[in-house]
């Protein structure tokens, strides 16, 4: 191992972000590097003299520090675990082993760098223009292209780590801890109410943390405001927290040290600042060319000298401050080239002049002169700029430098405003987009609001904080107003110089050049959205933060429109890419267990998922088939008990309860007598079977209704919806989770139940479809005599906390009869022998009761029920298909559920249920078929794995057609 590389930094300064007492070691592309705690990967590498930090996506050109604030999409690293780590914002950790993403070979010797030489052959949208002929070659081309594209690698062995999520609410949320955000927080905080200020870096101050000469008094300002904020107990400051999205009604998502926070804010102050925008010229992408604020961040936050000799390219007075900062950091300033013919008269300009720095007015950079291998630059060619904003190359002069620092203007960081439905309008005199109309409860302050002077930002923030506080308190909101701002021309309108040889980049993520946009326009992609989609501007990982504005400018010029008319593409979440892990949180997957779950476990149940519920599929230790047969036989011959606590259980109460059920269900319920229950079938408005269950009458104005297990939540919701629409006096109480239930079934069930209750349960006194409320095993119980499995049986419903007690008592009382618990599979088989349908299995999204053999449960003569109108239209027509039973005479080939019933080429229907019946000793099933095929004795063809097998249609039910057993 070689000695770690480390180059000492600039002398310590008070507000630096590095901790010189903590030295860290990490490796990059196999070389060891030192860093200070607090360094980002990029600052450490740049500080150590590394200029090649990454390669671009398409041409694999060398790239270095550009923004230092999260937009350096070409400084993307991986560590074998995590793909696409941002170098410019990721803190160095001791022992990190990093490599650049998407290189062929190594970062230095990247074979894909050849793409850059070939760039002439790879025009905008080149992949639409080739590779598709001959068509048989395309899969090979595609494989190659996929291999070349893509950035980091996923590690399929990486383990999932849960990530916390939190909810919060506040009166005023302030996004951005710069001067305007802090001022807003102070104003809102003093007004009372809960104020939260989020700042995505590690400290308050925003751009003032690195403003240097551009805001000399800033440290004192920040410190005093921070002290003030600390005094306000109702203001919470969250650092290292970035807002990722703003959703409707000020519902915001942030990611911070505590994972994802979802915040409902009554009012929001957007004080997110501005993204500095690059100038565009040939080779404006190479290492050494960087934004003014990137150079300032390097100097002030990390104490890294960004270059030895700089050309400072400016379009505003801010750039003069940058030049002064660089000079103070020991960088030799070759010159300041100012796009503007008439340079400003401000203090910064004066200081630059005083410092003896040469100023080239009305000049821009025509091109950067690349160093060997394009890793860095060795100079710039500077040329006069004409009024049309293009460079005059004929009079270009050479400037020797190893860095070009660009301070030519800004774009508002208005993502949240856009996401919230606000607009940004182009203000030509400021050459800036600025917030136009803002959504209710959203306010903007500071540079995002087009206000640039520090004093003006403070004033703007204070005003916005006051507006937000007033809005949150429901008071009259003071009118919007712009403070007096000493900075009137923050941006140069067209910092773009075309070059005949190209390589003047607008979008660095995607290597989109000026000529690509111009050519896209030539091809007809002449609106901002089409250019985005065709040329891929703004589609990369930084989502256009430092490219969309220049793209709109180039597009405006190419189409002869104003920038404001061209506009911008839609802002969408996320403002910064957000990990799937953070969004997923802890992945909460609740399993619902019935109150009897532990008893099933003890009895050796094998569980299955039924929706969110866990239900016993069958009970071991026998193998599945044998276990099911044993359970079926127990119910048919003696007695069995099944947990049916998953059924929907609803009390319908109120003066209109009977009327309500008449409308909800197809059957009659107003005439249902006290102490009786009845099958209840529900259709949707198109007459399709939706659900079924039992309905029992508890009183004149009270019914107890069950639904299918899977349908319960939806049915409760639907009932509540209709109750409101109809305006009926009815209350829906969902007891699904509050009640446990079991079904005691089999010829011995009466004898067993009799041992547990004083209720008269004689065949004549508690008849089939009777309903009682009585004490069973010491528990208040609702009893229904039902026969889903085709035997004498009782459904017992009790409060959930007593369900296990009841279960134990039933099992105990049934010992003499060798009662056996049975699972879902046995129940499915038992009910099929009896010819009972399962809604959802024997019906589908189009099944009417008429097709499913449920016409008997539909009382068409009622005045109204849901689906009645549709059924009236459908009823007179012949059915398209009908459900019928069948048996297989040759049971060596067993069809599966959903195998098709066919007649030649025609699909007549499908098998919905099929099983080997232990009771009948043959394979029985139910299937949809053509109505003419349902005549018993018809032989139908079922297509099994391409083979036709025959089945004979029989009359349902298969078992106990006279109903003697369930009525006994």
């Amino acid at each position: 191992m070689t000695d770690p590389i480390f180059i000492e930094r600039l002398p310590a300064a008070g507000d630096e972000w590095i901790d010189r007492d903590q030295r860290l070691c990490f490796s990059f592309e196999g070389r060891c590097h030192r860093a200070y705690a607090g360094d980002t990967v990029s600052s450490a590498l740049w500080g150590n003299g590394v200029r090649l930090l990454g390669r671009s996506f398409k041409y694999h050109r060398p790239r270095g520090v550009y923004s230092m604030c999260g937009h350096d999409a070409n400084v993307m690293l991986e560590d074998g675990e995590t793909p696409n780590i941002r170098g410019d914002t990721t803190l160095v950790e001791d022992g990190m082993e990093l490599t650049a993403v998407n290189t062929v070979g190594s970062l230095r010797h990247d074979l894909a760098g050849l793409n850059d030489r070939m760039s002439g052959f790879l025009p905008v949208g080149f992949y639409y223009k080739a590779f598709h002929t001959p068509s048989w070659m395309f899969p090979n081309w595609e494989r190659m292209i996929r291999g070349i594209a893509g950035l980091g690698k996923v590690n399929p062995a990486a383990e999932w780590k849960p990530s916390p999520k939190g909810y919060d609410a506040c009166d005023v949320l302030i996004v951005g801890g710069g001067p305007s955000g802090m001022a807003a927080a102070l104003a809102a905080g003093r007004a009372g109410g809960r104020v939260v200020l989020v700042e995505d870096t590690r400290c308050l101050g925003g751009s003032l943390c690195y403003a240097g000469a551009t805001a000399p008094e800033s440290a004192a300002t920040v410190n005093s405001m921070r002290d003030e904020l600390e005094k306000l107990e109702n203001v919470e400051v969250r650092l290292n927290t970035s807002v990722r999205g703003c959703y409707s009604e000020n519902w915001l998502a942030f990611i911070g040290p505590g994972g994802l926070t979802k915040m409902r804010a009554t009012a929001v102050v957007v004080a997110t600042g501005a993204y500095e925008q690059p100038a565009v010229f040939r080779h404006n992408d190479l290492p050494g060319v960087m934004l003014g604020t990137a150079a300032q961040r390097l100097v002030h936050l990390y104490r890294v000298k960004p270059m030895q000799r700089a050309l400072v390219l400016v379009g505003n007075d801010y750039g003069y401050g940058v030049a002064l900062d660089l000079k103070a950091a020991g960088v030799e300033i070759a010159a300041v080239a100012d796009f503007r013919e008439t340079i400003g008269k401000g203090e910064l300009v004066h200081d630059v002049k005083t410092a003896g720095i040469e100023i080239l007015a009305g000049q821009g950079v025509y091109e950067a002169r690349p160093a060997g291998g394009l890793v860095g630059i060795k100079g710039a060619r500077v040329c006069p700029v004409n009024s049309a904003g293009t460079g005059l190359s004929t009079s270009a002069t050479n400037v020797n430098c190893d860095g070009i620092v660009m301070a030519t203007g800004w774009a508002p960081a208005g993502d949240l405003i856009g996401q919230a439905g606000g607009r940004l309008d182009y203000v030509p005199e400021a050459a800036q987009f600025r917030p136009g109309e803002l959504p209710p409860g959203m306010f903007a302050a500071g540079r995002v609001n087009g206000v640039f002077g520090v004093d003006a930002r403070l004033e703007d923030g204070e005003h916005a904080g006051g507006q937000a506080a007033a809005f949150a308190a429901g008071k009259e909101v003071p009118a919007r107003r712009r403070p007096a701002d000493e900075i009137t021309a923050p941006s140069y309108p067209y910092p773009i110089i075309k070059h005949p040889k190209g390589k003047a980049f607008v979008d660095f993520d995607e290597d989109v050049q000026v000529k690509d946009i111009v050519n896209a326009v030539k091809e007809g992609y002449d609106s901002v959205e089409l250019v985005k989609r065709y040329a891929t501007v703004g589609m990369g990982p930084s989502q256009g933060k430092i490219s969309n504005l220049n793209s709109s400018r180039v597009l405006a010029t190419a189409t002869g429109q104003a920038v404001g008319a061209v506009g911008y593409t839609t802002f969408r979440p996320f403002t910064r890419p957000t990990t799937i892990g953070e969004l997923a949180g802890r992945r909460f997957h609740p399993d619902r267990r019935t109150p009897i779950h532990s008893r099933h476990q003890a009895a050796g149940a094998v569980f299955m998922h039924a929706g969110a519920w866990l239900r016993p599929e069958y009970y071991g230790p026998l193998v599945r088939h044998q276990a099911i047969v044993r359970e079926v036989q127990a119910v048919r011959r003696r007695a069995g008990v099944i947990d049916v606590g998953t059924l929907g259980k609803i009390d319908v109460c109120g003066a209109d309860a009977a009327e309500f059920l008449e409308r909800m269900y197809t059957g009659r319920f107003s005439d249902l007598k006290l102490g009786k229950c009845r099958y209840a079938l529900m259709c949707d408005e198109s007459g399709v079977v939706a659900d079924d269950g039992m309905s029992a009458r508890l009183g004149d104005d009270r019914f107890y209704v069950t639904t299918t297990s899977s349908g319960s939540a939806a049915i409760v919701r639907e009932m509540k919806r209709w109750a409101i629409i109809w305006g009926l006096e009815v209350t829906i109480i969902d007891h699904t989770g509050q009640f446990g239930a079991l079904n005691l079934a089999g010829p011995e069930s009466r004898r067993i139940l009799g041992r547990l209750t004083d209720l008269d349960i004689g065949a004549d006194s508690f008849e089939y479809l009777g309903f009682r409320q009585a004490v069973v095993a010491g528990v208040n119980c609702r009893l229904m005599r039902v026969g889903f499995v085709g035997e004498l049986g009782y459904e017992l419903h009790v409060p959930a906390q007593h369900a296990a007690v009841l279960w134990d008592a039933v099992v105990e009382a049934g010992q003499p009869e060798e009662i056996m618990p049975f699972g879902v599979e046995a129940q499915r088989l038992l009910r099929m022998e009896k010819g009972h349908q399962i809604i959802g299995q024997d019906t589908d999204a189009l099944t009417t009761p008429l097709e499913a053999g449920l016409a008997w449960a539909v009382k068409m003569a009622k005045p109204f029920f849901i689906g009645q109108r549709s059924l009236k239209i459908i009823a007179p027509r012949p059915n398209v298909r009908s459900l019928a039973g069948f048996v297989m005479h040759d049971s060596t080939v067993m069809p599966a559920e959903c195998h098709l019933v066919v007649d030649g080429d025609e699909i007549c229907g499908r098998v919905t249920s099929i099983a080997r019946s232990p009771t009948l000793g043959q394979v029985i099933g139910m299937a949809y078929m053509r109505p003419d095929q349902t005549i018993p004795g018809t032989v139908i063809d079922i297509c099994v794995e391409g083979r036709l097998v025959q089945a004979e249609v029989v009359k349902l039910p298969f078992y106990d057609p006279s109903n003697e057993r369930q009525k006994s």
Partner: protein, 413 residues
């Protein structure tokens, strides 16, 4: 280096012709006016011109080409539907898609990846078998496959699904493909334009003129044009247009959301869909994971994204691919779906003579683009429904002859 790219490097000038002109003014009258320059509208125009010789056609678009559902879907193409009518229709679409790059001489990156619809329960396994059986019966390549097969084709999947709802099997549909969706609209647009069709962007329809029961013209923000035939191909914007001609449909507009990750090196070669998890995911040629879920469960005319959606989707992605925790989602968006009660489209003639419907595209519009163009152009030219779309007529809702595709369409993209 394909020879087709040589000309770019060897020529000093950029000589590519325009894909589509932008005509200065609307003409006084057109034989056919198509509302909506999405894939469907442009495909209809293309086939009207190419197959039926009708070239005096205007396609009117309120925003930009392909800006609606065409540019917002997750670009999956498949034919493994549930009803015989649906299977025949989408199967024809898949066939047309396969030749489209050659037809257009534009690479649509039509990439046959194989499409898995996972089943996590008995019930969904039954539905998958049903679809497989119907597909096979109608000659569409679909098969119910076991977990070992899934693992072989998609080795990184966690079939235990985090232990929550283990995968039990899947419907495998080898022809399932993805494509560069925007380019489909561009290709149809260019083809139509070359044959004389006018595409008018930034042209919003403000009224439809009807005399008696016949269409006579269209009003726009750029003036009125005469025409006797209007095709309505505007998906999520259908209801307000139908109000202009007084046609009622059971359409409900619901948002459908999607999102895309940062680019990654290729690791996912198949299209994975899970109805139980409300999830579908594929990896684009650029390396992004393109992923979406089911329709938002409420009707609203808004293309704003929700946080709930992306949180839920992220959890479900990790259920199947637990190693994606550190992968970043770059962008989320929403589109508008015009959903029918039976999850099949509404196509063909309407009660107003000369007004043709291409609507009800819910979550299944992109994959039908070519066949819609084919069948709608026939329908308009002949003034009678193409046999493939006859089952999708508007009157089926009155006649209760629905084409129930819910089992195959609600999530399965």
């Amino acid at each position: 280096m394909p020879h087709r790219l040589l000309r770019f490097g060897l020529s000093k000038k950029y000589n590519e012709p325009r894909m589509f002109r932008s005509p200065e003014q609307l003409k006084k009258s057109y034989d056919v006016v198509i509302i909506g320059a999405g894939g469907h509208g442009l495909a209809t125009a293309y086939y009207l011109a190419r197959d039926h010789g009708i070239t005096n056609v205007a396609v009117l678009e309120r925003a930009y080409i392909g800006g609606g559902g065409t540019g917002r879907n997750t670009a999956i193409v498949r034919a493994n539907y549930l009803t015989p009518e649906g299977v025949a229709f989408y199967d024809e679409s898949v066939r047309l898609f396969q030749d489209l790059s050659a037809d257009f001489d534009l690479n649509l990156f039509y990439s046959q990846r194989g499409h898995f619809t996972l089943a996590h329960s008995d019930a969904s396994l039954r539905t998958m078998r049903w679809r497989a059986e119907v597909n096979k019966h109608l000659g569409v390549d679909s098969e119910l496959v076991d977990t070992a097969f899934i693992k072989e084709k998609c080795p990184h999947i966690d079939l235990s699904c985090g232990g929550h709802a283990p995968v039990m099997g899947a419907l495998f549909h080898p022809p399932g493909a993805i494509a560069r969706h925007d380019a489909v609209a561009w290709g149809y647009g260019r083809g139509a334009d070359q044959r004389g069709v006018e595409i008018h962007q930034q042209t919003e329809v403000t009224g439809i003129l009807v005399e008696g029961d016949k269409v006579t013209g269209v009003q726009t923000n750029r003036g009125t044009v005469e025409t006797s035939k209007v095709v309505c191909a505007v998906a999520g914007y259908t209801p307000p247009l139908l109000e202009m001609v007084g046609i009622k449909t059971p359409l409900v507009i619901q948002p459908l959301q999607a999102c895309v990750s940062e680019p990654l090196k290729p690791w996912l070669d198949t299209i994975i869909v899970s109805a139980s998890l409300h999830l579908y995911v594929s990896q684009s040629s650029r390396g992004e994971l393109v992923t979406g879920a089911s329709l938002d469960p409420y009707p609203i005319h808004s293309t704003r994204s929700t946080l709930d959606f992306v949180e839920g989707l992220s959890g479900h992605l990790l259920d199947l691919f637990p190693f994606l925790g550190d992968v970043k989602i770059m962008r989320q968006w929403a589109g508008l779906s015009d959903v029918t009660p039976d999850f099949s489209p509404i196509m063909g003639l309407s009660p107003v003579e000369g007004f043709y419907l291409d609507a009800g595209w819910g979550t299944w519009g992109f994959k039908a683009t070519p066949v819609c163009g084919k069948t709608m152009s026939y329908t308009v030219a002949e003034n009678k429904p193409h046999p493939l779309i006859e089952p999708f007529r508007l009157s089926r809702f009155k006649e209760f002859e629905l084409v129930g595709e819910k089992g195959a369409a609600s999530v399965g993209h």
